[in-house]
Symmetry: C2
């Protein structure tokens, strides 16, 4: 364990990724990553009376599936760490109530999965825990009405808008194992580009993603070419283009190894405009697609950059800009 | 570093409390702890245009005062860890934007300060950070309208209701120093007593506080008498009475060493009904009163139990019960 440079942690005692599981909604199940997801739901309620309860249920199922793959039961987890986008994190709170696992709730918007992996890794590498689950989720129907307009209103969305992913992703980490490892992480700081339009979150988050990438590469004395894949959370088309422009301005190539989870999860013909977003976006893509491709040797060293827009409807209504954050996590197979 | 029993972490590499600072509103400044607070504001806006911005400002001032007392500048902090009660943590997000310190956002309702101290201690004891600030806040005017009724409505409150504290508390922790130390911490699990009345949060949280205390004493093979002070977060009169009843049922004395921050912060004649609450309640009491009394030798070994009611207005409206959590932190001088 230790610290590199300004903001990067290094995990000398190994942190193994034992397993991951993703439970998604119908639209995600029609997208390009459908073969990777563990469970695809055919509707947005799944027998519950409210979307919020469904989101909590998805989290519980993701925890159960991930622990099963790791060969443990949920009660063997020392702690579950994570969050969601709902006010007061009710999806995660109610999952934690059902699973009865010691629980640490986090909120860094759509960067929550990266934050969860980072904190879980410090607990494991620091010798404070053996088995941890990192989790995050979002639900299109709970988010849309909380952040934007009543779902029934059918308001037209601009082309810069993103589509909130319905899904929960859980990753089991352990001090025991032999699979891919989390070796480093960089804690982000809040960057505010001055954007006030809550339908341009990708643009708001791009400078934070760039700041964290630059800090990470400086702290670790590496370049972009040291990574097979630099996978951002949910910048989507608009934000990812800006992120690559910022990188190119500093002399990087920002080529084929730069990918974004919000672009990967939907097909263009699904009419999601800029792409996917939500705390469940990176959580589901990383816990399914990324882990499978790592195990198949497609990637050997990956930099995950979770990106979060730290706005609320109140802060937007009060005329505030959108502060953003990004946390980075290094996964090596 | 290591783990004791089911849920307790032990910090073998020392985690020193370097300093603390509390910035509070006018009503807290008229209460019994007024001599302990670093800054008492004479109004609830303090020159800002919205209460939410004022809450963020209080956090920034608490960070500046606490770092000044610790003999460092905010930019020497490796990370600031914390949260507040506002949807999407906008007070903490905007503080982190202004201070530009690497930031990890947390949410466990009024248990957030205990959670912040716990996670900051793992980072320091694990060797991942030298200086961390733990922070939490609440503001009566931002909370009341978010959780209950429009402030202007003047709705009558039942006697079981608590008064949300206006204030921010910050504590600077470091691997360097010689003052009081955080030596252990217990991660809580979610306990749901079945209470649905959001004006009875003390009662909802009492079983969670008891569960964490019981787990902590079992994990560490101690009794209640090993602590000069067992200081809960914000159970207030109603919740604290229930908490002590639960302890007595298990054979504890639950005597004079059982205190509650929500009872300490206001005088009965201040008409706050059951007492204080809010993420700022434990944060301001612990960062001022507790630290001063520790330095003066009044207490030598203290168990802090942060208590959080994990409800949201949506979960209450949907008929859900109030899940609750408590995290414990041991401070020894």
């Amino acid at each position: 364990m230790g610290k590199l440079g300004k903001s990067t942690l290094t995990f000398e005692n190994p942190v193994y990724i034992r397993s991951g599981a993703a439970v998604v909604g119908p639209m995600e199940g029609e997208g390009p990553l459908k073969e990777y997801f563990d469970e695809i739901k055919s509707d947005l309620l799944c027998g519950e009376t409210t979307w919020e309860k469904t989101e909590a249920k998805f989290q519980g199922e993701a925890i159960h599936l991930a622990t099963k793959k790791a060969g443990i039961t949920p009660n063997l987890l020392d702690v579950v760490i994570g969050g969601d986008l709902l006010n007061q994190l009710i999806a995660t709170n109610f999952m934690a109530k059902e699973t009865k696992i010691p629980y640490l709730g986090l909120y860094n918007a759509c960067a929550t999965m990266a934050e969860s992996l980072l904190i879980a890794s410090t607990l494991i590498s620091g010798g404070f825990a053996v088995n941890c689950a990192a989790i995050a989720s979002s639900h299109n129907s709970t988010s849309e009405r909380q952040y934007r307009f009543p779902t029934e209103l059918g308001v037209q969305r601009p082309q810069t808008a993103q589509w909130t992913v319905t899904g929960a992703g859980a990753i089991c980490l352990s001090s025991l194992g032999n699979g891919p490892r989390i070796t480093k992480a960089t804690i982000g700081r809040v960057i505010d580009f001055g954007i006030k339009n809550s339908n341009e979150m990708g643009s708001a988050m791009a400078p934070a993603a760039f700041d964290t990438l630059e800090t990470h590469l400086k702290d670790t004395k590496q370049t972009e070419n040291d990574y097979d894949l630099i996978l951002t959370g949910d910048l989507a088309s608009q934000g990812h283009r800006l992120f690559k422009e910022l990188c190119k301005k500093k002399g990087m190539a920002a080529g084929q190894n730069f990918q974004d989870s919000g672009i990967l999860i939907y097909d263009k013909k699904q009419d999601v405009h800029s792409g996917g977003s939500g705390a469940g976006c990176s959580a589901t893509v990383w816990s399914s697609y990324l882990l499978r491709e790592l195990s198949q040797g497609t990637y050997k060293k990956v930099l995950l950059i979770g990106t979060g827009a730290l706005l609320s409807p109140i802060s937007v209504q009060q005329g505030s800009t959108i502060p953003s954050i990004a946390h980075a996590v290094v996964v090596e197979s």
